[in-house]
Symmetry: C2
């Protein structure tokens, strides 16, 4: 397919060294640049444009489900962070501390938010007094800082962009429903927009969020057999309300505690998109979130009428609501083909003098490499149909990958043997000790207790005692 071997040679083949392939794609597709602060990266225009499309889709879903955006401060006083003991134990080791401001030493250290539960609680205490004030369904788009030892583009940064939803409700039932509803919203984002099928489930006690009563997650399968936790939702019951002394007068005028949730997804999703769909020629973007859905390449652009026709096609497609890009530079068509491939533009349109004569152009699909001569008459419909087909095919391929890379095991030896293949399901007695033993023996952490519980036995893979739930294990990032 690629007309310019020189450019493509610079990417390591995906199956030869997955980690290096990933790093190559991130760099060659101009997604990220490094800054002089280790672990803090620059999101270049192409990466940010993908993130903006994800934001737009997700923010629309949040608003349709009654959520409102707010903005909380970046800084949290040490004493506020310490109000909820599990949260502080979970996050304190990895926060960044501000100690000086305006030329003076601060009287109290401030941390840069690693997550904002404490700030929302402080605000809720101010604004919630009566049952009339509930629920509050808030979200914010911001960056957070977690001072991790090892970092990796999109998957683990010291600073990353995300959204964090924080809601507060009159009843436990309503809060639990919210927790599960938002997991569905995340699964919809992944399935419908990102073409990334997910497994929904509950985290074990050892893997849940600090301070949470229960944590739910969506888990995705990458092309190297590793699992990616793509989003989580947390049910807090009234733990935080009690720690922050938030109470409201119910309809009988009795002071009671409300119930809370939080949930988030981040730019880590971009890492997922790369690793689920990409191939040896670079990125492959799902049409629904691709900044450019089609890349137009004029062939023999110096010939009369070629550039004009190409520009007119771009205009026609744009008017039809398709995100069309045209490369009118003086680079060779081969260079442009390789560049659009590297950037994962779902569809390429080639048009030259002979095509114009015939009233046709060539459409090339990024996912299959398939080329088809397409009449200019009715081009908009043909392009829309092709984009839909690509979106659908990417999802099917990813579903197939998830299916192929999920195995079942009935002993710890079987788990170990299937480790490199992907997710491994096993029956689990529920003890943290067995979960830990599996991790020690196989290197796999528990991913989640999936909602879909196909019973594959009745004994724990680890201790052999009676077990009535399925747990999924897998290698992770």
């Amino acid at each position: 397919m690629s007309q310019n071997p020189k450019l493509v040679e610079q990417i390591t083949p995906r199956d030869a060294d997955f980690g290096q392939w990933y790093t190559d794609v991130v760099k060659k597709a101009a997604l990220i640049d490094y800054s002089s602060v280790k672990g803090c990266v620059i999101l270049r225009p192409y990466a940010y444009a993908i993130w903006e499309n994800i934001q737009k889709a997700l923010d629309g879903m949040f608003k349709r489900t009654g959520h409102q955006n707010v903005y909380m401060p970046l800084l949290i006083p040490e004493s506020l962070l310490q109000r909820e003991k599990d949260l502080v134990a979970g996050f304190e080791p990895e926060v960044a501390w501000v100690t000086h401001g305006g030329g003076e030493k601060l009287s109290e250290r401030l941390c840069i938010r690693p997550t904002s539960e404490t700030l929302f609680c402080e605000h809720y205490k101010n604004i919630i007094h009566s049952w009339r004030d509930l629920p509050k369904l808030y979200n914010q788009w911001c960056s957070v800082v977690r001072w991790e030892k090892t970092t990796r583009p999109f998957l683990r940064h010291r600073e990353f962009l995300w959204q964090e939803g924080h809601t507060i409700h009159a009843t436990a039932d309503e809060a639990m429903r919210e927790t599960l509803d938002m997991l569905d919203v995340y699964a919809e984002l992944c399935g419908e927009w990102l073409a990334m099928p997910v497994i929904k489930g509950r985290k074990t006690e050892s893997e849940k969020f600090p301070g949470a009563h229960a944590t739910y997650a969506i888990e995705c399968m990458m092309h190297d057999g590793r699992g990616l936790q793509a989003g989580t939702t947390h049910y807090f019951a009234d733990t935080f309300a009690k720690a922050f002394d938030i109470q409201y007068a119910d309809k009988n005028n009795i002071m009671v505690s409300p119930f809370q949730t939080s949930w988030g997804v981040s730019t880590r999703l971009l890492g997922g998109i790369i690793m689920v769909h990409g191939d040896d020629s670079g990125l492959i973007l799902p049409p629904k979130i691709a900044p450019a859905q089609i890349g137009i390449v004029p062939v023999a652009a110096h010939k009369p009428g070629v550039l004009e026709t190409a520009a007119k096609l771009k205009e026609r497609l744009t008017d039809a609501g398709i995100r069309a890009d045209m490369d009118a530079s003086d680079q060779s068509p081969g260079w442009k083909f390789a560049e659009y491939e590297m950037k994962g533009v779902p569809l390429r349109l080639e048009i030259g003098p002979k095509d114009i004569e015939k009233g046709c152009c060539v459409l090339a699909r990024r996912d299959t490499g398939e080329k088809s001569e397409t009449p200019l008459d009715g081009l908009e419909d043909a392009v829309s149909r092709a984009l839909d087909a690509i979106q659908g095919n990417l999802l099917s391929r990813a579903e197939q990958n998830l299916k192929t890379r999920t195995a079942a095991a009935s002993s710890i030896e079987e788990m170990e043997a299937r480790r490199d293949a992907g997710f491994v399901k096993g029956m689990w007695c529920g003890s943290a000790q067995c979960e830990e033993t599996v991790r020690e023996r196989t290197g796999m952490k528990s991913r989640c207790i999936p909602f879909e519980q196909d019973r594959i036995g009745d004994k724990c893979v680890c201790c052999g005692k009676p077990a009535d739930q399925l747990l999924i294990f897998g290698l992770q990032y």
Copy 2:
């Protein structure tokens, strides 16, 4: 107008105590809540929704003019901040320093970005090598931190949301054109969307941005006679390029320095909107950026058919692309009227059993208080026309205020006498000493050398020496 005196009584009249009126409006319209970090505020849903509408309008203008969004890190190493001497001198006194991360003392202090010129320069050095790489027209939406001594909601926070554009060009001319074009974009945002007329001009040498070759500003007039600098654009020439050693190979393959600009507006615009349009009943929002353009109040809502009719009207207006809100709570209509007034919703729709019988409703304008009986048939058009009329009227009123509050003076005594009225124009010889003397004597800082130079004399208001340019002075926030 107001049906519920109790609610409205809580606002200090605007002309009695402008500062207190402003604080009251910010609180009562639920725009802001305070956090436990002094000077860092919470943008509540209503304020954030206004900001989102501003962002959407402005981001659209940026994209139409070829700009791309990126995201730069939050943290800047001390050594990087110090690369450009004027910038560091200007900002170092008010930065916040991170000294510890992940439980350890950092080997170098990191400041939270007060502005991101240094980060963009570092990135440009990595990615710009040839004339083919120019221009880069970048922007980012983020928050910045400046550790100010005194703070005031929206006008001066220790952390605030803004956008910062950073562009780099092959020639000085192109960079200067960008600097002026972006000032026009800001003026268009203020005039067309926020109904805030501006004076465009150049800052004096003493007032320009640290490190800039020239700074341009848009200045607005508030209702207490003070000026508000609503946005600035900076032309850097090749100062930063030289400090950061950025060079590119031109078409003759000679290494040369590129030219840069930066420009920004912030949530300070919300303060401007409040102070330009608000009155004794609260906020008045320009329809184009109002989160709710019309607030529907069912009257005698317990009577059959009222709530249903009101809900149907909301649906009809929403379908017509109008942002309609309905208050179906059990509060009294009077309470709802006062609440929509406080929040500055441009138009209110009242509908009760008698209106339904007549096939009418009542529309009440927030800006004039005018009420008019309006047929339900063709309501969408009537509402659209009313919203346009309100947008136009707010702009005219603000233009009138700016005109009334701009005086001319030919001596420093006249300047002092007219100080409280608003902007005072005077001829200026160009010396920093005269500018400073005026400030000392009158308390007014220079606002800008306006592009529109009506010659009102030929002698400097201060020293009496020959003067060929007009300078505008004013009290500020």
